[in-house]
Symmetry: C2
Subunit: 408 residues, 2 copies
């Protein structure tokens, strides 16, 4: 089999798997991980059983996973096949694939060079593939500079306004906004990003159903605009209806792709809470915007802050401060493109002092020792640097804890 | 000298010292600490110099203080006396004392049995004495069950409303509200406490000037009512004008006496921030109520939460949850009086499980190990207890971090 023909076989296998495997089908995903897509599809679609060698690989993968499989016990070929056979019978990956091409959709998979690397952090919950609409070349820019902006559907005027400020500010600095497709906060986030965006991908909508079914209907025109100027993506095969559980699974993708997640307004129980918790589990920074304690629409944000699951953020500076501080002020993670006043202020500093300045957090203060660790400098150099930065207004001493001053 | 006569001498000395020593006069307070009030007054008022023995005691106290004295260098008898002589010349403690008695004021000092023990945590910044108006027997109830409720003078309608809810709730549970005498949040806190209070001391106002000068004038009627039903206290001698620096010094007393401090609404720069920081330095819990990020009147609260100086609180349950959880639900710190539904729920539990329940935090989750430390139980007992408490709805597992469930 040539490399191209192998890639085609992998693609068709993943097309089939994306229709049969739900994101939370741990067993199915472990089979995919252990056998690779082509063999996994042969087994899962019931074409053949697991060979002896494969069984060994599978058991090693399950051991590495380290948690009991749902339903208890080990693997049982008969049960396994029953699970998927009903769905697999209706499945024709080649037909699915040609239909998707006709509809102008694309599919990206982990074997492709433009697969968002951030999704690998999901481990066995990494999606089988991503279906998408919009210029696929935009996919490359996603993980580096994107912020998830999420919240409740039934947001207040305040929540809408705050979402506009945050998402609009994120997009105006050239970053990508990432959200769902729902009414309320999601919708406001996309509208703001489309209005203010200056970067290559102002906004990306991650759908719970197929990307050919833009849901909800009332947001279709907006989501079509997102297709034109950004991306609409989903792990669900085209034609999939957006069931309730798919929204919760979808949230892990938003959390994984975003460099940070911000909840602009959310109720005590809200899908946005799940996105925030997914992000925290993935060690992505999480921010939440507070609001009136007399408004139930902010109770979820307050809960996240109280629990320590989110940092309180009040504006786009705080939000971008959640990720690396210099990037927040317009410097690209690759160090090259734009320069702002803040970075220009650093120009007069020695390289060592710039390292100290870069190491300063914007929210919780850092001790001199931890700054020395982060900056990779001796404590003495950090102390001297802090004194100079303080004089230049670039560092603030808060009782022994040092922070970068807020820009007022 | 009999014990009574000695007590009288101490009182007169402290009356004099309270007029001469400003709270931030570190040298003066160290002299008071080293020599005791009577000798300190003799030295500070210029009646005599420091003896050789006293000099040794003084140097030991200064060494124990551990920080350089203001103005640098050690003690210089001449400089010291100059510092205080101008004020001391006008000072007549006996006259001050009899005038205060005529005005119906009282004075409480560290040598008295009703001195609020919490003030000792201030160490060398412990006040010389407290001047007060209102039924002095109320002083005994202060430290055990009081919550400082503070905030900005120019509060918004929201801030006033939140202050009413918080201070009203605190007083309605029999706790004492502690605040300043300013317009805005202070005023709202006293009004709410007077309206809802059910305990022996609904509210206490701590003044920056003398208690005979109720300031500001517009709050005089309110503060007279506080005298009637609660207490008005100050460390400043009667007749002292409330200068700006005295407000900042006064804040340390509010922070020290309160079991916890809550900032209900405050601007980026506000006296309430200083009260919160004093409380944090004294290891008292601090809460802050969030609000709209679009309102400058909440920026101080958000700052405290972001910095980690305050916990986000949304209502009186959160506020009382800052202090020991059981007390928050109506149990007295001495364990006797009222029983609420929450504590009744604990009745079916073993003593060991009650210890686990008591150890559960309400805000940030605790690991099993830290619960074992707090409850003084083996890890195995904590694990079993948590399982039983979880079934009873008295513990919640948040991904390995355990908390007491919120009452909804």
């Amino acid at each position: 089999m040539t490399s191209d023909r192998h890639h085609d076989a992998v693609r068709l296998a993943r097309v089939g798997l994306s229709r049969v495997l739900e994101p939370r089908d741990v067993t199915g995903h472990l089979i995919l991980q252990a056998l690779g897509p082509v063999a996994a599809w042969e087994v899962i679609s019931g074409l053949r059983g697991v060979t002896g060698t494969e069984h060994g690989a599978l058991e090693a993968t399950i051991r590495a996973y380290g948690k009991p499989l749902p339903g208890g016990g080990g693997l049982n070929a008969a049960t396994m096949t029953q699970r998927w056979s009903a769905r697999a019978q209706d499945c024709d990956p080649a037909r699915d694939w040609s239909r998707a091409m006709q509809q102008g959709l694309w599919m990206c998979m982990p074997e492709d060079p433009d697969w968002p690397a951030a999704l690998r952090d999901l481990q066995q919950a990494e999606p089988v593939c991503l279906w998408g609409r919009g210029d696929r070349t935009r996919l490359r820019d996603l993980s580096d500079r994107s912020i998830a902006v999420v919240g409740s559907r039934d947001c207040s005027t305040y929540g809408r306004s705050v979402t506009f400020d945050v998402a609009g500010g994120v997009a105006a600095r050239g970053w990508t906004v990432l959200s769902g497709g729902a009414y309320g906060v999601d919708e406001a986030a996309h509208r703001a990003a489309l209005a203010t965006g200056v970067g290559p991908v102002p906004t990306v909508a991650v759908m719970a159903g197929g990307v050919d079914r833009l849901y909800p209907v009332g947001n279709q025109a907006l989501l079509e605009q997102v297709v034109q100027e950004g991306l609409v993506i989903s792990e669900a095969a085209p034609g999939t209806m957006p069931a309730r559980f798919r929204f919760l699974d979808r949230n892990r993708l938003i959390a994984a792709v975003g460099r940070a997640t911000v909840v602009t307004e959310s109720r005590w129980r809200s899908g946005a809470q799940s996105t925030a918790h997914h992000a925290a589990e993935l060690s992505r920074p999480v921010g939440a915007v507070p609001g009136s304690v007399q408004s139930a629409t902010s109770a979820g944000c307050h809960r996240l802050i109280r629990e320590g699951s989110a940092v309180l953020v009040t504006d786009v500076d705080d939000v971008l401060g959640l990720v690396a501080p210099l990037e927040a002020h317009g410097e690209s993670p690759h160090g090259a493109d734009s320069k702002t006043g803040q970075t220009a202020m650093f120009d007069g500093l020695s390289e060592s002092d710039r390292h100290v300045a870069d190491a300063l957090p914007v929210t919780q203060g850092a001790t001199v020792d931890s700054l020395a660790r982060v900056a990779g400098l001796p404590v003495r150099a950090v102390l001297g640097g802090l004194r100079r930065l303080e004089r230049a207004g670039l560092a603030v001493d808060r009782g022994g804890l040092w922070v970068r001053p807020r820009r007022t």
